[in-house]
Amino acid sequence: MDIDKANKEATEKMIEARAVLVGLGKAKDVIPGMRENLLLHAGPPITWERASGPMRGAITGALIFEGKVRDEDGARALVENGEIELEPCHHHQSVGPMAGVTSPSMSVYIIENETHGNRAFSNLNEGYGKVLRYGAYDSEVQERLRWMEEVMGPVLKDAIEASGGIDIKALLSEALHMGDEGHNRNKAGSILYLKALAPHIARVSKDSAVAAQVLQAIGDNALSVLNPVMAACKVMADAAHGIAGSTIVTTMARNGTDFGIRVSGLDDQWFTAPAQIPKGLYFPGYADEHANADIGDSTITETAGIGGFAMAAAPAIVTFVSGTPKDATNATMEMYEIAFSEHRAFTIPSMSFRGTPIGIDLRKVVETGITPRVNTGIAHKEAGVGQIGAGLVRPPMEIFESALVAYAEKYDI
């Protein structure tokens, strides 16, 4: 067995995957395996009992949105008695930021990999403040979700279809040259996204006031493109999954309690360990002790060679960890040590257009002791408070070690 060959195949597929936003649909209509009594969530599998505050809050909010419960106690009862089931987004070709909770009647982006044909899905981004993905679920949150579903969703759906598809891979390549890294900083990408959609939104809206509202919502939210970007990264990573003998990590995800990874050559097995508290800067009034453990599927960006791996492209982001621009370069330099290859489409101007590190190689992580760098938002540990900061986090080393041991067993090494 040639491990390098398998890894080359996996990383080439990630690099070659051309992710295009092709449409929008209701989760229950478009996500494979989605059903009325199912909620998708970020990270590896989780139970109510082990779920963190923001995860429980998001589950509650989604069930209120679906009209199934009125409060957290109701949500707990439905989940604990099995009437509502919880499954990872990742088991359904999906990804969601922070809690990542996606319910059957929510609209999701449809991303298609035009190179290999696979699809991925992600919910819509709500913006900042009190939002479901950080576990907030009060009436303000519900109102916002309903507006997104009833007003923004249909306009976006028509506009995306009218556009004939938006090439998210090309958008990312450009955004990396404009100071984004695609995970924590999507300012440029979101404006490019707005630019791509705006004429179509104007064309498909029957009401110019609605068009203005939708354009404003996208334009005001510097994370509006994050969800399509995550789904784009998901089709890239999925294309690389399931290659016999490959040690490339194809999933990194957190549910607020555990950090989990999956590896291309190790089927769908999760390797998990308790997630860590990110290190970073807090909004005024908050500190470490308020922080929830690391949460969200957005680590799919690092898995696909952007985010923390492309930190050198986004020097502005180092303020989260009170660093200097050189620290941003050093962060990317460090990630080259554990990457199998360098991207051809995602390049970094300040490093003479060197490709971003792509394809996290399990072997290199264990050998060097360097875990992937993840740029992330920090959630309050209590449901409903929301984002309290942003910073840097790394997965626990032991999940890579146990994956390596599992690899040795599976392949009789």
Partner: protein, 571 residues
């Protein structure tokens, strides 16, 4: 009443300089009485124990664990100091705008592609792995680390030789390449003397003395103290000697070693003779020959004398020498084994002694060491010299100086052996000896050479003639008839041995791999440093390029994971 607080950090590796700095910073904290910060090796734990710093909790710590012990006036001060450890370590690291320090050699190579050397000073148990990785990246290795097994040393050096690279060490303290000192080295003037040393402080002493005496050096190549042992067989020393032979800047060569293995010393001396440059030899503790100068070899009795000789030879106008004959050519010219059939015991013994400088092993019934004792005196093997005057041959027979019967039989036997390329005979004239040895030997020599020629072989027969003009046998006539029969005649054992050395293969077979490219000495030194950070700083201080690798034990020192990774490499 003082108290000791201890913290164990599992698998936390820091180089010893960092730990020393941490230790001294901790000692300066208030009410701290004593501090021990060490990797938990058995020796270090003993040391901490003697200082009264080792408590129960630290006794189970493993060598890859870091122990921090703080003795303070009371528990609170000790805990305060322990809490400072991370800050002190970070403070050291967080120089503003620090350039990226690569974590692996592979990454470092991309950052400094011109690097031609890797300095390795990581703990011994990891050193072989790092050195091997360096070789795989086509880098020469200066291996400062000790506690590397001799098996690993042999395997690393053989790999290096196959790749035409150098491995200096393990346990190599000193080298100076193209003016840049590696490890511990003195600032030495440039000049004509090139050195090869299997002794770090020996090299430092001799290079310093050369400088003090007004001389200077081209390069000082370290080999590690075990290079001239039997298992390692001078792999690095021979490569280094060959480099200095070809280096046009090097006019005089100095060889220094701790006591070498006898047979390895012999190989080194043979190679030294072939450098065509003056070679000063100081094999510490090795019995120097009675002659202090032997052709191009100059034997020094001490390091000081080695330096003095080298400086003197460097100043002396060079006598013009025949053009260099590269080793490989000699190997192809010479062919076959040597057989010596002596009637004089002392002659045989002296020729054996002299041939030690040219041939790896000569079997005999009177060998220089037991390993080369001929199992059956009636059958020669490989290179063999027989003293036919020994009791085993003379029982019931006249001495071979009187009667050539046995020698003529044996001459025929040796000549018929297709592996034989040269036969030596002594012809001792004078009163009491055979009245006309040439009468019997010349026809036999003729016949033997003719038979060999018929078989398509070139058989050379060399006769060492001992006698005077006034001897009854007629010296000139004996020589003439031997020469007419096709023998080469020599009159001294030294010229005989030198002739053998010229003609026969130097070693059994040519070493694998090409010679190390002279570029390694001529290009500007650029170094990747793995281990002690101060070594990188010292290279930079000498205005050469150096990149420090922020190395950590692979897989956190976890043996199980490491062995999986190793096996995956072989898949």
């Amino acid at each position: 009443m003082s108290t000791v607080s201890t913290e164990i950090r599992r698998g936390a590796y820091f180089d010893s300089v960092v730990l020393m700095e941490l230790q001294s910073s901790l000692k300066r904290l208030p009410e701290v009485l004593d501090v021990g910060v060490m990797m938990a090796t058995a020796a270090n734990k003993d040391l901490l124990n003697m200082q009264g710093l080792l408590d129960e909790s630290a006794k189970d710590a493993q060598p890859e664990d870091l122990i921090i012990c703080i003795k303070a006036a009371n528990e609170a001060f000790a805990q305060t100091a322990l809490a400072e450890v991370d800050n002190l370590l970070v403070r050291r690291r967080s120089a503003v705008d620090q350039d990226y320090l690569p974590k692996s050699l592979a990454a470092a190579t991309k950052m400094l592609p011109d690097a031609n050397w890797v300095l390795v000073s990581v703990p011994g148990q990891y050193a072989t792995r790092v050195a091997r990785e360096a070789l795989e990246l086509q880098k020469n290795v200066f291996l400062y680390s000790d506690n590397v097994s001799i098996e690993d040393e042999v395997s690393l050096k053989q790999q290096a030789r196959r790749q035409s690279l150098l491995v200096m060490g393990p346990d190599c303290g000193t080298a100076i390449v193209n003016g840049i000192g590696f490890g511990f080295a003195n600032q030495v003037r440039r000049g004509p003397v090139g050195l090869v040393g299997a002794s770090g402080t020996g090299l430092q002493h001799v290079t310093s003395r050369i400088h003090q005496l007004g001389g200077g050096i081209t390069h000082a190549l370290g080999t590690g103290g075990r290079d001239l042992s039997t298992p390692v067989a001078a792999t690095t020393a021979l490569q280094s000697l060959d480099l200095l032979r070809r280096d046009p800047e090097t006019k005089v060569i100095v060889l220094i070693s701790k006591p070498p293995a006898e047979e390895v010393a012999a190989v080194m001396l043979r190679q030294a003779r072939m450098t065509q440059k003056p070679v000063v030899v100081n094999f510490i503790g090795h019995s120097a020959p009675e002659k202090m100068t032997d052709e191009n070899l100059h034997f020094a009795r001490s390091l000081d004398e080695a330096a003095e000789l080298a400086v003197g030879l460097g100043l002396a106008p060079q006598i013009s020498r025949p053009p260099e004959t590269p080793t490989s050519e000699r190997v192809t010219h010479g062919s076959g084994h040597l057989r010596g059939l002596f009637s004089g015991g002392t002659l045989a013994h002296e020729v054996l002694l002299m041939l030690r400088n040219y041939l790896p092993a000569v079997y005999s019934n009177i060998p220089l060491n037991k390993a080369h004792k001929l199992p059956d005196v009636w059958t020669s093997q490989e290179h063999t010299i027989i003293d036919l005057g020994e009791d085993e041959f003379t029982v019931g027979r006249p001495h071979p100086m009187l009667d050539n019967t046995l020698r003529l039989q044996r001459l025929q036997q040796e000549a018929d052996d297709p592996s034989v390329g040269m036969i030596l005979l002594d012809v001792v004239l004078g009163h009491g000896a055979h009245p006309d040895p040439a009468a019997e030997l010349a026809p036999a020599i003729s016949a033997a050479r003719a038979a060999a020629k018929k078989a398509g072989r070139n058989l050379e027969i060399v006769a060492l003639v001992v006698g005077t003009d006034d001897d009854p046998q007629g010296f000139a006539s004996q020589v003439e008839r031997l020469q007419q029969a096709g023998a080469r005649v020599e009159m001294s054992t030294r010229s005989l041995a030198a002739h053998v050395g010229q003609k026969l293969p130097v070693v059994g077979k040519a070493p694998e791999g090409q010679n190390v490219d002279l570029k390694v000495l001529q290009q500007p030194v650029a170094v990747l440093n793995v281990g002690l950070e101060s070594f990188a700083a010292s290279i930079k201080a000498q205005e050469a390029e150096a990149l420090h690798v922020d190395w950590r034990p692979p897989a956190g020192g976890n043996d199980k994971l490491l062995s999986i990774l190793e096996r995956m490499k072989k898949k």
